[in-house]
Amino acid sequence: MSAPAPRSSMDRLDFFSSILLTAFGVAVLVESLRLPRLENLKVNPYTVPGLVPGLLGVAIAACGLVILLRSILRGGWRAGGDAMDWRRSAAVRRTLVTLALTLVYALVLFPLVPFRIATPLFVFVFIVSTEAMMEGRRPGLRAMVTAALVALATGLVVGYVFQHLFFVRLPGG
């Protein structure tokens, strides 16, 4: 679905992400070497728990390194001007707002606040704020009422299905 980024900006993104991935691969290898080898239990050395994760650490680091070298050869390490555009774009604002709202719901409201309050609140705020961002102005009364109805219906229907049909005890009281 997502259109690929232009080659130059992808090389730049590859440069930074491959550093992280290579470091991650090395960390996995180090942590695998630190896993118990169960010598005191006299287990077969070929069955030590760190064997496969260690090999995977090497594979991840190797692939990361190849991507890193490739991006350096293509000049991806040089700072490009498009990074600023990326930060200012409406697409990024929409993504960050979505991320913030969903994180607050999943990590704060859902575990701590009763479901039938938390869910309508989240759905209402999400619809109103994203519609406002799309249209560039505060949504009218009709849009607010629609958002409230969708929010209430979601809280009631999803809550009923999971709590009363599937007997799932939802957190948040």
């Binding site: 679905m1 992808m10 995977l56 190849v66 979505t98 994180l103 990590l107 299905v161």
Partner: protein, 503 residues
Amino acid sequence: MDGLSSFLSALIGIVTSTALIDVLWATLLGIVVGMMPGLTATLGVALMTTLTFQMEAERAILILVCMYVGAIYGGSRSAILLNIPGTPANAATSLDGFPLARAGKAGSAMAIATTGSVVGSMIGMVALALIAPLLAEFALSFGAYEFFWLAVFGVLVAGQLTALDDPIKGWLAGFLGLFVAMIGQEGIHAVPRFAYGSTDLAGGIGLLPAMVGAFGFAEILTVMRHEAYEVVRSKVDSVWSGVRQAWGYKMTALRSGLIGTFMGLVPGVGEDMGSWASYAAARQTSKNGSAFGKGSVEGLLAAETGNNAAVPGALIPVLTLAVPGSAPAAVLLAAMIIHGIRPGPLIMVEFPDFVFSVVAMVFAATLAMGALGLLLTRPLLLVLRVPRERLMPIVFVLCTVGAFAIASRTFDVGVMIVFGVLGFLLRELNYPMAPLILGIVLGDILDKNLRRGLVLSDGDLTPFFTRPISAVLWLTALVFIVLTMPGVRRIFTKLTGRWEKTS
């Protein structure tokens, strides 16, 4: 004959009971999920697994199969009407479907897609019935060495095929998935790995919350990042002329069905490649190849036949090897395990009727898909008028509650969030998601069988390379990977070009 009677009794069981109602609503819901840009078949099957885990096994699997078949087909609607593939499997569909819709032939295009999907699904279903029992019997001769290579083969080939332009990213995604499977207590000595004192991490990362995150939450972030799609207002012509047009390309449909089934069979590759490979083959063999991409009936038919044929194709390795042929099939595999069915080489011994029950489920879902797709053409257009700002928060609520409901752990909500953010970032960096998920499924198989194999051979690596099936697996993977590498592909194309000129 045993197989046929098992199939017929399962089919009669579906048609003459309330299961028929399940088939209709689950397939319709699948079509709706597939139609909506941002809701994929994988997400649909994963969310539905969380809604059906308390049902009895056969009923739950029937609903999931219908959702899967319906969603892969449903994606063609938005591809034709909006030029936005409803699921990644319908990307090739939009190339010819959208130009047809713009030319005022949206109804015909939808009918061609429906016919192709039904034909493809039926071809795949026949292959499922014929190949699955044979493959299960063959897989009985697999030992630790063969299962190790099967896991390596799956991750490498899936990584290669889902990231053709940049296979290293595909492999890296697969390795990350394999690493995720290493978290938690390992299966031989019960030593917790990468748990750092957390009992939740020691229990391992659940496949379903991870998939709901990687395919649900990540997709919500992706959809909200992009501009809103235009609401469909196009007029729809009669659908029946489309069915007649599709009939004119019988051989294309047959070939696409076979290619799609084969692509489904290859671990982790699935419907997307089923569709693209069928489309490419049809274009190459067509008398009117230049019309492809400009509203070709043959191109649309090939793409839609290919992706739906891959659905039953992807179920073949799920049932017989416990290795998923695609991302939605990986969820289906997890659902089967939740419901106490143990897919793998012993399936024809332990659950001999189950394979043919799945064949009957695919058959029922295909008929429902065809009927609903043709009869509800206009009412289904309303689905595409739902604005994403109202749909996405509801989907996120379902992702959160669904991730929590499986084991009643808030930890799983955290897993969903982490995999969602990770999935979104990896996608933005052009890393494919399917090898990552396949890696999570295959990690345990790879880990246990490498270590068991080394114990059996006392550290000698020779049997990994010399046993006949092992040799076939690693050689095939090697040849395949070398041949599809961009550099080698360029050389190969140059050489064949020269050869064609001289001959």
